[in-house]
Symmetry: C2
Subunit: 348 residues, 2 copies
DNA sequence: GCAGAGAATGTTATCGATGCCAATAGTGCG
DNA sequence: CGCACTATTGGCATCGATAACATTCTCTGC
C-alpha cells in the first residue's frame, strides 16, 4: 500500500484529473497518450484540469500496467576515458530526444560477473532495452539469458548472439593513420595498441597491420598499453630506444600524450625525429605540444546510432539485425612530418 | 493491463513463488525484504523456490506499491569535462554500494528552463532523491517546487532553499595554488577564472584574491574562460603580452593546457618565464609538457559524500542539513618555478 | 495449567494507469 | 426516415507487490 506517512497530501492521480475535467479516467489517459479518438473540446478540458492540478503521470503505475518503462539502460565502463564519456553523451541526447530516460550501470571491471551484474541491475529496473557500451569478451550463460530477454544493442566489440552491433570502423581508422604516415615517406609505422581484450583495439591493430602489408612494408611488433597515459609513457620509453622508429600510430590520444612525453624526455623530437598519430581526437589533442595529429572518432554519433537501432528493434522486434558502422576521420595537426634521415638517432 | 503479446510466457510473479514454496505471497515478500520475523526453514523454502523459478522482483510494482524506487537521479551538465565525469563516477559507485540505481538527466545548458526540465524528467521517473551536479544560478518557481517535493542534494554551487549542499573547498584550492606561487617568490599571481556563473569558479577567484590581499600583493584583473582548452588558449595569448606576469593560477587543467600552449607559441617558456598552476589534476596533467602543477580535487569523494547525504536525508527527512566539504590538495610538478628576473620579457 | 506477550504467517485492500470491450452519440447514405 | 457504421467515451479487470490488520501458533511466567 502506498505511503500514507505524509500529511494526507497525496499528489493528484488520474482519477482526480478525471473528476475535475468531468470525464472518465480512461479519457484522461487517452489524452495524455495522444490518442487520436478524442474530441478537441474534451482534450482541452482535460489538459486544463491537468494544468490546474499540476498533475504528473505516475511512471511506476504506467510501467506496471503497460509493461514498458520508456527507459533504456546503458552498461558502461567506469573510467574517465574520453571515449566512454563521449559515447554516453551521445546516447543520452538521442534517448532524450526520443522521449526515453537513461539509466546507467557502470562496471569497474570487464569480467563476466561484473558485466552480468550490471546487466541484471538494469533488468531489475525494468529497462525496455540495453546498450552495452563495454567490450564483452567472454559471455556467460547468465549474460546470454539476459541479452535474450532484454533487447540489447552492443557498441563496438561485444560478442553475444542476441545482440545487434553498432560500431565505428576501426580498421579504417587504423588505415587512415597508417597511410598518412606512409604517405609522408616513413618506411614503416610502429603501433602502440590498446588492451588486447578490447575489440576496438584489436581492429585497430589489424587495420594497421593490413595497411603495412598492403604497402609491402615491414611490420614491427606492436606494443600494448591499457589506454592510460601512463601506459603510453612506458611504451614511449621503449620506442625511444629503437633508433629506426620514425613513426608511430597510437591507439588513443591519452596514450599518445604519454608517448610524446616519453619521447621528449629521452631527447627525441616530435615530429622531427618521430611522428606520432593518436586516436579519438579528444578536446585536448589540439593543445598538446605539438598539437596532435589524430583520427577523430564520431563517438556521439555512434551513441545516437545505437539508440536508433535499439528503438527500431523495440518498435519491431522482428526486424533484421543489420549491423551498422560510422566512419572515423583523419585530423592532421603538427605531430607528424616527413622523416628526416639525419636525425633518427636517439640522443639519450 | 500488462502486455500479452509474448507467447503467453510471462515471467514468474511473487504468487508463483508463493505457490511453489507453499506459503503466501506476503511471506515471500518478507523473505525478500529481509524481514526478521520469518522462520529459517520457511526462508529457505522460499529462497529455493525463487531460485528454481528464476524469479526477480518486479520493480515497477514494488515502486507503485511502496512509493519508493531506490533510484537516485543525477542532473549533470553534458560535457566531456573531466570534473563532471569524475563526480558522476563517484556518485554511481556510492549509489550502487548502497543498493540504489542511478538515473541520469543531462542538460546542455545552464538556464533555468533546461535544468528545470531535467529535474522534472527525473521526478517523473519517480526517483527517491536527486543530486544536482550543475551550478544552479537562477532558481525558478518550478525548480523550487521540484526541489521541495523531492529530496535534493546540491553539489557545489547550487542555490536553492530546499537543498543540502556538498562542496569542495574551492577557496582553499585557490589559496593553495596562490600561496605556492608566492612562496616560490613571485610578486603576484594572475588568474584565469572559470565562467562567472559557476560558484566553483567564483570561489576560486575569491580565494585567489584573498590570498593576494592577505600577502599584501597587487591583485591583477582576472581573465575569464569557459573551462575549455580553447578559452585557455585565448587567455594565454592575452597573458603573453603582459611582460611582468610571471605566475598564473588557472581554474582548470583543461584551460591550463590551452594557456601553456599559447605561452609557448608566443615564446614564453614554462616554467622559466612564467609559472602555471592548474586545477583538478586530470590524468593527463602529469603528461603535459611540462608536467602540470595543479590542485587535485577529490571529485569522486565528493560524489560519494553527496550520495551519503542524500541517503541520510531519505532515511531521516528531519535531519538537519549540515553542509559538508572535502579538501583539495596541491600537487607540485614541473610547471612552476621561482621567477627568473632576467627573462620576464616576452620574446615575441 | 492458563493467560498473555510476541513471533510467524495469511487476508485483503490498494497503489495509479492501461487495455479490452461495451455503450452511446453522431453521420452518411440508400 | 431509418439502418449501418464510426467516432467518442466510460466501465471494469488487471499488472505485481506491499502495508495494515487479522489470525494462528509458541512460548514464558506465575
Amino acid at each position: 500500500m502506498a505511503k500514507r506517512s505524509d500529511g494526507g497530501e497525496r499528489p493528484p492521480g488520474m482519477a482526480d484529473v478525471a473528476r475535475v475535467a468531468g470525464v472518465s479516467a480512461q479519457t484522461v489517459s487517452r489524452v495524455l497518450s495522444d490518442h487520436p479518438n478524442v474530441q478537441d473540446k474534451t482534450r482541452a478540458k482535460v489538459l486544463a484540469a491537468v494544468d490546474q492540478l499540476g498533475y504528473r503521470r505516475n511512471n511506476a503505475a504506467r510501467m506496471l500496467s503497460s509493461g514498458r518503462s520508456r527507459t533504456i539502460g546503458v552498461v558502461t565502463l567506469q573510467t574517465d576515458f574520453y571515449s566512454r564519456a563521449a559515447v554516453t553523451s551521445g546516447i543520452e541526447n538521442a534517448a532524450r530526444a526520443a522521449g526515453y530516460a537513461v539509466s546507467t550501470a557502470t562496471t569497474a571491471s570487464l569480467d563476466t560477473f561484473a558485466i552480468g551484474s550490471a546487466l541484471s541491475r538494469l533488468a531489475d529496473q525494468g529497462v525496455d532495452g540495453v546498450i552495452l557500451s563495454v567490450p564483452l569478451i567472454h559471455s556467460s550463460e547468465r549474460i546470454e539469458q539476459l541479452t535474450r530477454s532484454t533487447p540489447t544493442v552492443a557498441i563496438d566489440g561485444s560478442r553475444t548472439d542476441a545482440t545487434e552491433v553498432v560500431a565505428i570502423d576501426q580498421t579504417l581508422a587504423a588505415r587512415l593513420a597508417t597511410r598518412h604516415l606512409l604517405d609522408l615517406g616513413h618506411d614503416t609505422v610502429w603501433h602502440i595498441a590498446g588492451p588486447g581484450q578490447w575489440l576496438e583495439a584489436a581492429s585497430r591493430r589489424d587495420g594497421w597491420r593490413a595497411s603495412l602489408e598492403a604497402a609491402g612494408r615491414a611490420v614491427p611488433p606492436p606494443l600494448e598499453g591499457d589506454w592510460s597515459p601512463a601506459s603510453g609513457y612506458r611504451s614511449g620509453l621503449v620506442l625511444a630506444r629503437i633508433p629506426d622508429a620514425t613513426a608511430v600510430f597510437v591507439a588513443s590520444d591519452e596514450m599518445a600524450f604519454g608517448v610524446i612525453r616519453a619521447l621528449r624526455e629521452t631527447g627525441r623530437r616530435v615530429p622531427e625525429d618521430i611522428s606520432v598519430v593518436g586516436t579519438d581526437d579528444i578536446e585536448l589533442a589540439e593543445y598538446c605540444s605539438p598539437p596532435l595529429t589524430t583520427v577523430a572518432q564520431p563517438f556521439a554519433q555512434m551513441g545516437a546510432l545505437a539508440v536508433a537501432h535499439l528503438l527500431r528493434h523495440l518498435a519491431d522486434p522482428g526486424a533484421l539485425p543489420e549491423p551498422a558502422s560510422v566512419e572515423p576521420r583523419l585530423v592532421v595537426r603538427a605531430s607528424t612530418a616527413p622523416p628526416s634521415r639525419s636525425s633518427s638517432v636517439p640522443r639519450q
